[in-house]
């Protein structure tokens, strides 16, 4: 669809139009003209919205939907629609479905489900067969089918030698290996952060050590094996320090942090509300401060909503029995924009694209139009009416947030 975007503030530090209010003409999926004022001579669809801002399309490196196998949580179709309305033009889809996405035909299946959608679905293939952390899955074959990275989602790689081999093997074809940072023996049966809250509530705690010990191990292995490592959703101050040191050594490592781990501390657990049962667990303000510092100095490369829909049956039970996870696509930008400046928030939502093989295009004439439209100033309390996902398990319900996505222009389609 050809469109004319009117009076939009460009937030794109790589563009010469950054911070300028301009009209943007999009024809055949490309930005054909950017100017102070463009006349709509061809009678294109005109988009004029309150306090409209545009940026490069946003990307999320860790999203779960549920299809195949858990369609009652979320389907790929509705999940991608939710992503589009929430401002994301590409998402990396985790392989924790049933069956697990661990073959090229599985990768092809999820890609086929996304074919007509404006949002790019970037499949993550399982690192090991059935994500059992025993034998490597056919990584090369999955990469050729379109897998952008390899991960057993929240299942840690328990065998250090397996990680070593995975990194060495995947380096043959520039494959990105993800290793969830959790040392299971130290974590034991811990389900929340080990701190005052867990002590007060009698819930089993998992200490920061359970994360940082695994991060330290993984970085040692990476230093030996070479290859490309991504450590998803770190949550502790110790992990930030370890990754900062690894980057100083020029190791090829990236990491992400889940937005809820930046926004909420474990204090919210006091009513045993299962919406806050997430993995990694919500930590302390000390950890949040270190994570924000890590974001500012570039130690942390990207943020993720770590979107994980769970049905009411999986959440409305005793805390011990509830599944982990919160949805996060709908609240991602507004929550980030509450913590950081809009410029920084956008940077965090676009920075991981290259690492995960998503298209990157600037807001410049001649570039492919892959754009998010948003209003950074609108303040609101996040409620059920803001949820577009099939599952409603959001840790952000009731939180005051700032800024809303209007939608996207991507793959020659506009979603508002």
């Amino acid at each position: 669809m050809n469109v004319l975007i009117k009076s939009a503030t460009v937030i794109d530090t790589s563009s010469k139009f950054h911070n300028q209010i301009v009209d943007v003409l999009i024809e055949k999926g490309k930005i054909s003209q950017i100017a102070k004022s463009i006349k709509n001579t061809s009678n294109y669809k005109e988009i004029e919205l309150d306090n409209l801002h545009i940026s490069q399309g946003w990307f999320d490196s860790s999203v779960c939907f549920g299809e195949p196998g858990f369609e009652d949580r979320e389907t790929i179709e509705n999940g991608l629609k939710t992503a589009a309305k929430s401002g994301f033009t590409s998402i990396a889809l985790q392989a924790n479905t049933n069956p697990i996405i661990d073959t090229s035909s599985d990768v092809t299946f999820v890609l086929s489900k996304a074919q007509t959608q404006p949002v790019d679905l970037l499949p993550i293939g399982a690192l090991t067969k059935n994500s059992e952390s025993v034998d490597l899955a056919e990584l090369f074959d999955m990469k050729n089918a379109g897998a952008v990275a390899f991960s057993d989602y929240k299942k840690p790689i328990t065998n250090p030698n397996l990680l070593k081999i995975a990194l060495q093997y995947a380096s043959n074809f520039d494959g990105l290996v993800c290793s969830f940072p959790l040392e299971q023996k130290i974590a034991g049966k811990g389900i929340v952060n080990e701190h005052v809250s867990s002590t007060m509530l009698g819930l089993k705690g998992s200490p920061n050590l359970a994360e940082s010990l695994q991060v330290a191990r993984d970085l040692y292995i990476l230093e030996y094996s070479g290859g490309k490592l991504h450590i998803p959703t770190i949550s502790t101050k110790e992990s930030v320090k370890l990754i900062r040191e690894a980057k100083e050594k020029k190791l090829d490592v990236t990491c992400s942090v889940a937005i809820h781990n930046l926004f909420l501390t474990d204090d919210v657990l006091n009513e045993f509300d299962t919406r806050y049962k997430v993995n990694p667990p919500l930590r302390t303000q000390d950890d949040i401060d270190a994570l924000i510092e890590g974001i500012k100095d570039g130690t942390i490369d990207m943020v993720t909503s770590d979107h994980n829909p769970q049905t009411i049956e999986e959440k409305k039970v005793e805390f011990d029995h509830a599944n982990y996870g919160t949805i996060g696509l709908e609240s991602a930008f507004s929550a980030l924009n509450q913590i950081f400046s809009t410029k920084k928030s956008i940077q965090l939502l676009t920075k991981g694209k290259e690492r995960f093989g998503s298209i990157t295009s600037k807001i410049e004439e001649g570039e492919v139009a892959n754009i998010t439209l948003f209003n950074p100033n609108e303040k609101y309390v996040f409620g059920k009416s803001n949820i577009l996902s099939k599952s409603k398990n959001s840790a952000f319900l009731g939180q005051e947030l700032k800024g809303k996505a209007y939608g996207i222009y991507a793959n020659k389609k506009i979603v508002l």
């Binding site: 034991g188 049966k189 080990e194 701190h195 005052v196 867990s198 002590t199 007060m200 509530l201 009698g202 819930l203 089993k204 705690g205 200490p207 009513e271 045993f272 409305k316 039970v317 005793e318 805390f319 011990d320 029995h321």
Partner: protein, 309 residues
């Protein structure tokens, strides 16, 4: 204060100091009642109480049932072994099914921390937490404080040490909250592996030497080692645990002052305390049991009055 500030007893941390005072004043009255020849009052003839025990219990269940019967409430009992829980029914459905038979109050023991809090948000009945995982066991803490008050006049300013498996203990946690609320000084003592790492942040002293702890305290509350809750060994052997954290008569006699020994039961004789300590005049273990009935009568009576109002 003539009524409780809460509609449920989910934990001590949800109570105010005045709530505890009111419960104790009411318990004083009921203690007098249960020592009469006719140990029963007609107060709750119009109330039906369900005792839901999703985890094994002997003394707590008996104590609650007796308290309810002494108040003339109608009582039904339910335990997980005979229930539909094993058929996959959720906790909310199980309880709502029971409540639809016109039950006013639920006394629940459950293996999961927060089960009582969870239930109170989703069903329409007063909930009394009779122990939820390693979270709270509020009536035990209330009867413990009541027993200290009975023996020493008050709890305020007293030094109380809780000895043993603090990590897996709801009794320890509720006692810490209750004692602190009433102005006692609280210490925990045990092997470091059985002390929660952040327990000091609850405002308690931490000691790993039993003799030092006992020399400091007026009251020692000896907890049972909960082997059934341990996923790995937190100490090499019971023998070695007893060597370091068991109280025997020689140790007790060698202290500078005569301290009071408490135990929530069931006792592992020869492990946390020896028989001669358990049976000595310093031990108030059986007083605790008797006070348990009076305190539980008080809690149920006060919560029932809120339902009636």
């Amino acid at each position: 204060m003539s009524e409780l500030s809460v509609n449920h007893l989910l934990g001590i941390k949800y109570l105010k100091e005045e709530d505890i005072e009111l419960i104790f004043k009411t318990a004083d009255h009921f203690k007098e009642v249960i020592n009469r020849p006719i140990k029963k009052v007609p107060s709750l003839r119009d109330i039906t109480i369900a005792n839901l025990f999703f985890e094994n219990s002997t003394r707590t269940k008996l104590s609650f049932e007796l308290a309810e019967k002494r108040l003339s409430a109608d009582v039904i009992n339910f335990s997980a072994g005979q229930s539909s829980v094993k058929k996959g029914e959720t906790l909310i459905d199980t309880v709502n099914n029971i409540l639809s038979m016109k039950v006013d109050m639920v006394v629940m023991r459950h293996p999961n921390p927060g089960a009582g809090v969870f239930l109170s948000k989703h069903v329409d009945a007063a909930i009394v937490n009779a122990g939820d995982g390693a979270h709270e066991h509020p009536t035990q803490a209330l009867l413990d404080s009541y027993s200290i008050r009975e023996r020493l006049g008050s709890v305020k300013g007293k030094n109380v040490v809780i000895v043993g498996d603090i990590l897996h203990s709801r009794v320890a946690l509720s006692n810490i909250f209750a004692l602190k609320l009433q102005g006692a000084n609280v210490m925990v003592c045990g092997p470091k592996t059985l002390l929660p790492k952040h327990i000091d942040k609850l405002g308690v002293k931490v000691e790993t030497n039993l003799r030092k702890a006992l020399n400091w305290c007026d009251v020692a509350n000896m907890l049972r080692v909960q082997n059934e809750r341990m996923d790995i060994s937190y100490f090499p052997s019971t023998r070695e645990y007893t060597q370091q954290f068991g109280v025997n008569k020689d140790l007790l006699d060698s202290l500078d002052k005569e301290i009071i020994i408490m135990h929530p039961g069931p006792i592992n004789r020869g492990v946390e305390i020896t028989s001669d300590v358990a049976d000595s005049k310093q031990a108030i273990i059986l007083d605790q049991v008797q006070n348990g009935v009076a305190v539980r009568m008080a809690v149920i009576y006060l919560l029932a009055s809120k339902i009636k109002n």
